[in-house]
Amino acid sequence: MPALTPEAPTLRRLTNDQFANTVRDLLGDDIVIPGELDPDSRVAGFLSAGASVAAFSPRGTENIESFAYILAAQAMEPDRRDLILGCTPSGTVDAACSRQFVEEFGRRAWRRPLSADEVERMATLADTAGDTLADFHDGLEFAIAGLLQSPDFLYRVELGADADGDLPRRYTDFEIASRLSYLIWNSTPDDALLDAAESGLLSTDDGLLAEVERLLAAPRATAGLQSWFSDWMHLADLPELYKESSVFPHMSDTLPDAAEQEALRTFAYVAIDTDGDLRDLVTTRTTFVDRELAALYDLRAPVRDGFAAVQHPEESMRRGLLGQAAFLALNAHPVSSSATLRGKFIREVFLCAQLPGPPADADTSIPPVTEEARTLRDRVQIHLTDPGCAGCHRNMDLIGLGLENFDGIARFRTMEEGAQIDASGELDEVPFADAVGLAEVLHGSEDFSPCLVKAMVRYSNGYREEPGQFEALEHLAELFAGDGHRLEPLVVELTTSPLFLQAGAVDDGPLEEAYE
């Protein structure tokens, strides 16, 4: 076993997606989600890791209270309440029934059994309110609102527990249940998973593996694992995509959503439906378009409404994610493309390099179009030749220039300002001629496959890896490569490894150190 020093455990607030998924699982698929919690923030490239440090603002806390009552009222609607209420109340106050409800619903909402004190605390709210409002179900809404406003619901409380003797600290079985379900389903554990935790099955190798495989086999695993991909690719930024429509007539209110669908469907096709090599995400000629994307890409439009699988022709420059609107438009400017932003994203997100930010006092202006310098490549030459810029910019621009055949919204082009575009470049000193060549070089880069593993662990564990985890990560990366770079074996190997199961000690040292 590789050496491992696990990170100190931290509370993780539910992301907005997790909040919505969790509420639907608790109260029913047709529940109306009243709104969003505080915006998610990104740390180490992931919203899932930002959740490890973010705190709720006063405004967010105000929203939470309001959402809790809106949800509680829906839960107690006559045609829905029987699904979550396991007893028939005997009057406006029924202490036994309210306690039974708090025990059962509370275990699902807090992802663990409640203590007797906690049951009493929440059930008393229902009893008092039932008396005041002269209605049992109206009263129960206040217990539900209390459960949903509590930190035990809003945060994933995974703190670990000391084990017997010299054994390392490990997450408790209920905490492991949460870690599994939020990783694979991006939602709360179901009753079967909580039962497995309660019976101690998750402490056994066979019991744990059986639950991992059960979760992976469930249809909802596709959407759950798409959440990892979406977080990795920053697809959550798409709704804010801003393009100047006078420059890009293909921009529309619906394009960002279509671009997101294309990327998600491509991921599901490569990683899940065909159980393929994840590196093929950047080389596949298969993609999924609706009529709007077909027009953007100059492909034959699908006959029916909605999305259809299509193959880009062999001679097309479009390959995989790097030829898609989501990546190309997000990593560009409102009126132009950007070799720097595209190269930076590939360097940081696909290859896990940490690039320093630009010096704050750098003059970052790009020379204007002139007779001699019409293409972006000619205009950013200073990035590549000035010693003050080249150190970093060669690491980004030489990659991104390979995508210059795609404009700021992913339209294919061969000319810019009347001049022929040269889309050659290099990645780690391996030259390529164009976007197809870039995709192939990236696919073969020795950093790409381990970076996919890091991306999974950052998302799963909610922090940027530290030296104490490097050896375990390398071991996991070897297993991943040995399994053909496939998603399902990666999830299985991770979730049954100490990297996922072991917890560091709670860090109660001085606050300054927490930010060093």
């Binding site: 100190a8 931290t10 509370l11 915006p39 923030s41 740390v43 180490a44 930002g50 440090v53 973010a54 705190a55 709720f56 603002s57 006063p58 405004r59 967010g60 806390t61 105000e62 209270e65 906690e118 605390r121 929440m122 008393t124 709210l125 309110a129 005041t132 409002l133 206040f142 609102a145 209390g146 406003q149 509590s150 930190p151 035990d152 804010e240 801003y242 100047e244 400017h333 409102p334 009126v335 132009s336 940490q354 930010g357 630009p358 704050a360 006092d361 750098a362 003059d363 970052t364 202006s365 790009i366 204007p368 940027r464 709670v506 860090d507 109660d508 001085p510 606050l511 927490a514 930010y515």
Partner: protein, 439 residues
Amino acid sequence: MSKFLLDRRTVLRGLLGGAAVTVALPPLEAMLNVNGTAFADGTALPRRFVLYFWANGMIPDEFTPIGVGEGDAWQLSPELAPLADVKSKLSVVTGMQVKVPNRIPHWSGAAGLLTGIDPIGEEGDWTWAGPSIDQVFAQEIGGETRFRSLEVGMRSGGGVSFNGPNNRNPSEDSPRAFYDRIFGTGFVAPGEDPIIDPTIGLRRSVLDAVMEQTADLEGRVGTADKQRLDQHLSGIRDLETRLQRMEEDPPNLASCSRPDEPPADDSFTDLLDKGRLMADLAIMALACDQTRVLSYTFTGPVDNYVYPGIDDGHHQLTHNEIAPQPQVDAIVKQIMGELGGFVGKLDSVVEGDGTLLDNLAMLGTSGLSLGRTHSLDEYPLIVAGGACGFLKQGVHYRSETRENASKVMLSLQRAMGLTRASYGEGDAFTDEWVAEIER
């Protein structure tokens, strides 16, 4: 209204559905003292703070006024010309420098000025080291009003108000949502009866239970998590205060009235129209004493909005446009026009013998000065309002020695009545203020 009611603030106590309800009759404008600077019982008119933030700085050579001193001793610069109508109501401080290390473009300046502390965290994952100045004031005076502070903006996703590390106060960018929050359920206009609702007491009991749960959890978590939960707890306490306010008499300020409802679909053909509507609603929230601390983010750091008649996004242009950057200059003038309009509106709200503007301190600033180089020299600092007689208005103070911009922040702390004797840490620390903008 009979004199009896005026003289005797009748308190009705009732019991409804088991919940105690307190109903107090409102004080009236007639209860102001003779010179209109305080209520008759000696309570001063509330002092407020407003932060007005815009993205991507300005062009110092076009921004710095001509001449220094008071009144006619100085003239507005080309970029400040749109402030002509309110020149006598504000001061401009130039030549100052934000003293934190300039490591994070757009954010070192914003965080360095508004917290006085260098941002913390790992490369690429920076966050603010402490609360922004609006929240420092909110900690002091926020408990007096229904909302501890309010944050609004014209654009989504921005905002420079922080409670502490990794805890931004998100700006509300929907006029409709903002209206519903402030002027919808829970708002009591002057002269209206307080809200009588048995569920208010029940909701407070739920908050008590949630605070007990939170305190239990705090005993098990690490130091950083404890700080996060403390911030969450303080938000819960704010909510309790708010529920309590609903049962009390509404604040009575002559200019307060329920505004018209904004369009439900939030559709605006011109973003600047939306920004003006947000400003109107936010100013009415101040006039109605719903809050005493407001952050108005016109545009947040690095904003890239393409202004009407301009070729490219604002941020892009600050880097790509060739000097002297006529399009950037035009955008700054447009922003200053909006800022001037905002100050003018504050000055149109009558309070006693003066206006809302006389009873507040407003800081107008950005995340840097010259956008092209992310400079923290020649920092843009506009201080408007009288702060109930504390601030001198109509001054241009210019530093020729790159003084610490924190000095302006200390003047604002003094204007807001804070007893703290210093502002900032490290190189940004100061225990001096800008006496020239104070009375």
